[in-house]
Each structure stands twice: as C-alpha cells, then as structure tokens.
Symmetry: C2
DNA sequence: TATTTTATGCAACTTAGTCGCAAAGGAGAT
DNA sequence: ATCTCCTTTGCGACTAAGTTGCATAAAATA
C-alpha cells in the first residue's frame, strides 16, 4: 500500500509526506466519498484540519482528488477515477455513486451532483 | 406582476406577505439563479436574512423554489420550472443553465449541478 | 374588540473551512 | 555534522453563510 501511494504522489508530482500518506491511505481504502470528520476518524494518527484542507487543496489542484458538497454543507472527497455522478438523498443523506451519461457537455466536467429523494425513500 | 405572484403563492398554498412578495418578485424577474446578497440588492425594501432564509425554506418545501450550492459556498435560488442542470465554472464562476438529458435516474431529482471549467475559460 | 396564531427583525450563535504565524522537518551546501 | 533555506505542520484566531431564540408586529379568528 505504501508503495502504491508513493507512486500516486509521484504520478501527480506531489511530494510524499506522512500527512499526505495518511489522507491518501484512507481515500484509497474508501468505497464511498468521505468528509473531513470521517477521514480523520479512519486515520492512524491525528491531523490538524488546516493541514488536512491544505493538502486536499493540493490534491485537488493536481487533479488527484475530486470534491463536492454534500447535503450537510460538508465537502466530500474521493480519489479521481472515471468521472461519474453522485446522487445525494435529502432524506436519508445517502450518497450514491452513479454511472449516468450526459451526452455532450461543453467544457471540462469535474463533478456532477444530483440531489433529490432516492428510490428507497420514495416508497 | 403583483397578481402573478399572488397566484403563485395561491398555487403552492403559501400565504401572501410583503416579505414573500419581495423575494418572489426578484426571482420572477431573474434570468439567472441568485444568492441571498444578489436578491437582497434587487429588493425594493430591506429584509432581514433570517426572514429571507425562513421564507426560502418555506418555498423550497412547497416545491416552488429550487436551490443549489454555488462554487462560493453560497446557496443559489431560482423558481422551479422544468428540472434542468447548472454548470458552474470554477474559474469564471459563471452559472450556466443547461438542458441535459440523463436518461433514467432512480428517484426524484431536484437539482443537478455540474462543476468544472467552462468552454470559454478552457481556451 | 379581545384572543390566538403567524410572520418579522434583531442579535447571538454555530460551524465548515481559512489564515497568520511560529515551530518542525528535510534537502542541499560547506 | 552543521548551517542555511525552503516546505510542511500545528495551533489558535478568524470568517461568513446560514440558524435559532426571543420579543414585537401583523394578521387571522372569534
Ligand atoms: Mn463516487
Ligand atoms: Mn437555471
Ligand atoms: Zn434516501
Ligand atoms: Zn468559465
């Protein structure tokens, strides 16, 4: 795992530090987008939020991580992969990764967020 | 205009008040989604932000107004019409209303926001 | 008119994220 | 190893969009 994350940093031209490792470790293991609190909880060692957000900003700028706002006014992060959409349910607050096709969109899309009521909550 | 807004309130079962009129007046005239500051600026008479947000929450719940978060961590509002997407440019911060088709989406979609770099900023 | 309910304004509060600054860490030069 | 310079980190103070409590005002109901 350590090597994979080092490789990731290398690929995006970002210096490898322990703080960065901690964050990326959690994101790599994650199966869902996560917010600061959630990531912090999963980290082995504590980290100041200033450090966290500064590094996240770095990752984002490099295109390594994508973020979007959840229904709770918090930012959610995930490692960039194939661009896909997230559906956020206003009732159960679940975030559902989805694979929708938009056809042509002008410009470069970095995140797509749909909000509404999920199928489970509707019935 | 006054009558149209009264009718709108009536349709959504919302009592007509001067504060509500002020907000809806601005939203009806708007050609773009607007945030609190922008709406306030266009209003004839001043209004407290608590009143504003409380009424907006009411409109939202009734389904009369839709909101989404902009790139600046502010909420943007517009009168509900045909559900459509907004593209927000991370560089010029323009909000572009767009008419995309997603095909089937499970659940009830209330807002769709795409973020990225708009065509104008790309070149 | 008197009573009850709802809407508004003000000020204090909450909280995710930011910023300034000093200390810690790391890479290179001597 | 030691010195120097630059980057990263942690701490604490700060910012600002939106929220909440409470007193007053307006509107509905009797
Ligand atoms: Mn996802
Ligand atoms: Mn629009
Ligand atoms: Zn749901
Ligand atoms: Zn742009």
């Amino acid at each position: 795992m350590n090597e994979q994350i080092k490789a990731l940093c290398c690929e995006y031209d970002i210096k490898f530090t322990t703080a960065r490792f901690s964050i990326l470790m959690v994101l790599k293991k994650a199966s869902q987008p996560m917010n600061y609190e959630q990531i912090k909880e999963k980290m082995d060692s504590a980290m100041d939020k200033a450090t966290f957000y500064r590094n996240i900003a770095l990752f984002e700028e490099a295109g390594m991580v994508h973020k979007f706002e959840g229904d709770d006014r918090k930012w959610y992060f995930e490692l960039s992969g194939k661009t896909h959409a997230h559906f956020i349910c206003e009732q159960c607050h679940r975030i559902i990764c989805m694979d929708v096709d938009f056809g042509e969109v002008e410009g470069e899309v970095k995140s797509i967020v749909l909000k509404g009521i999920c199928k489970a909550c509707q019935s």
